[in-house]
Symmetry: C2
Subunit: 343 residues, 2 copies
Amino acid sequence: MATANIKEVARHAGVSLGTVSNVLNRPDTVAPATRQRVLDAITTLGYVRNDSARQLRAGRSRTVAIVVLDVANPFFTDVVRGAEQVIEAAGAMLVVCNSGEDGARERRHLELLEEQRVRGVLITPVDHGPQPVLDKLIERGIPVVLVDRGTGRANRCSVAVDDVLGGRLAMDHLLDQGHHRIAYLGGPLTIAQVADRHAGAAAAVQDRGSTADLRVAVTTNLTVAAGRHAAEELLALPVRKRPTAVFCANDLIALGVLQELTARGVRVPSDVAIVGYDDIEFAGAAAVPLSSVRQPRDQLGRAAAELLLEEAESGDTHRHRHVVFQPELVVRRSSDQPRRTRR
Amino acid sequence: MATANIKEVARHAGVSLGTVSNVLNRPDTVAPATRQRVLDAITTLGYVRNDSARQLRAGRSRTVAIVVLDVANPFFTDVVRGAEQVIEAAGAMLVVCNSGEDGARERRHLELLEEQRVRGVLITPVDHGPQPVLDKLIERGIPVVLVDRGTGRANRCSVAVDDVLGGRLAMDHLLDQGHHRIAYLGGPLTIAQVADRHAGAAAAVQDRGSTADLRVAVTTNLTVAAGRHAAEELLALPVRKRPTAVFCANDLIALGVLQELTARGVRVPSDVAIVGYDDIEFAGAAAVPLSSVRQPRDQLGRAAAELLLEEAESGDTHRHRHVVFQPELVVRRSSDQPRRTRR
DNA sequence: AACGACGCATGAAACGATTCAGGAGGGCTC
DNA sequence: GAGCCCTCCTGAATCGTTTCATGCGTCGTT
């Protein structure tokens, strides 16, 4: 019942504790014959290392945690997969924690992770204000890497995508297509990503000296349902005031808009063009494939994981870095139809 | 730097080790004044429990693992969320591991989890043959609960949804709508769910004594791309031989089919009706909202977690159970148009 | 023959928490 | 005031691993 321990293995193989440990950790320092005896003992006893003891001795664990806002959001699942690759290749283990956009849950998770002395934490924090909990982790020597939150602080690394540029790309595209009345859908504006994407869109209009009308419709969150709701409001406008294009803060909203418009007989893109953000898998698979601003999601995860491992290994000599990726516009059918210039 | 330990706390508060431990674990056995002194020492020293030491002593950890086939699949993310609720409510922690449908990765994960002496494992195994790795875990006293794999073995609990019934529901619906040529899309058939759903569909045809023609098109996996590919093959058939309805083994395939058909000018549901499976969020949000067989995904996760905790606590007195949920057909536009009876 | 070097193996000493048998002191009963 | 119970606290023993100073041969060099 009680799993065999290293001592029993030693006794069974007729060697000392230290030798078994050496077989496990530095096999080449043990004579082949002895090594084999030990290995045999291990298999016949069904010995399995006890990680708690290992960690206790080592003072730190071999697991890395990632705390995401929503495990069910395709954006984050892809980030997780990217991080996973790097972490597992390094022989460590990635545990995924879900804050569900809830600060209290986030804090509970971080406390548990601290008790576990995890090797490091990748996190997209719920709040983007000052973060005493994170600072505490860092003081304790647990590296923290911010994921997808631009302005990293001085005591930690960060990876992010240039959301202002993303907004600019989307808007430039819509302006190129000849649109003049354009709506930006997203919210709440307290979310940095939502605000930045809008700022980029506005900057694009301004830089061109365009007379285009860009207005914002704030949604309560970033879900499909919010998109449907926003579309209803657009449809309530008289046709001549209705935007001919909408730029959505993420693809879930865009999909909601698409669905509602199609259901009401408004055609995409001929009546209304749509551009989303994130380029999740379901964007290209929508019945009217969705134009979207692609973020290198798995790269984001990979880069974050690499920074973390680097910091964990190099220790004090580490210099914090802030990696920023460039987004990329993917034009698909939902916005691919130049509009005859008219007002 | 090195985090304070319980000994320093004891010294700082002028008490013994045991007292500090009591404050932490049995606060009411310590006199209020002493307790407060200890708590003060804890905060001033910034003491954080060391979970490794705790676990080593206790012999087991307070974390539960869930091993899923694909973290990015909306079906599994919802199962995870369900399990999470129960596990966290019990003061434990859920770690999510991704096997990516790869048996080797699954095994590596299980080995690591065993080293960590996790409290239990929820798993949707990659293979449904005999599972020596899982048996080994169980022998070691680590409870295992199968998720979404019907035929649980005698030494473990399981939760599942009746896939045969689900297939039957879908097919009954399509037959009711007057369809006579129907295709089942899914694969590989070695996946129990894929086979069971087909079995249900076939049984429905037979039980009615229907003359309907149900044929299977096997896909290589269960993704959107596979659905698109399958749709292309359907379109290669002459119209008079082409199925008027397709039943897909999951929603990702169904979305792929929908996209490809729409892109080729085939209308859904009037030319071809579609029914999917899982009822993921994007099913209802598709441009032609998708009929689908709904599985109680979060309940699945919750039930699995509850069985696990129960087993972990009751120990030997535990009797393994196999919970089976009923699926439910959700009819949406993609199949909601009775067909004039004709052959 | 003496010496160092080297290869292997040893086992005691950590790591930090929990547990538990036991002790100190105070108050109560008879 | 003896005996007893209670409350509160103590500290050694324990969990299983890793590490490291040490020991013991053997071999090659001088």
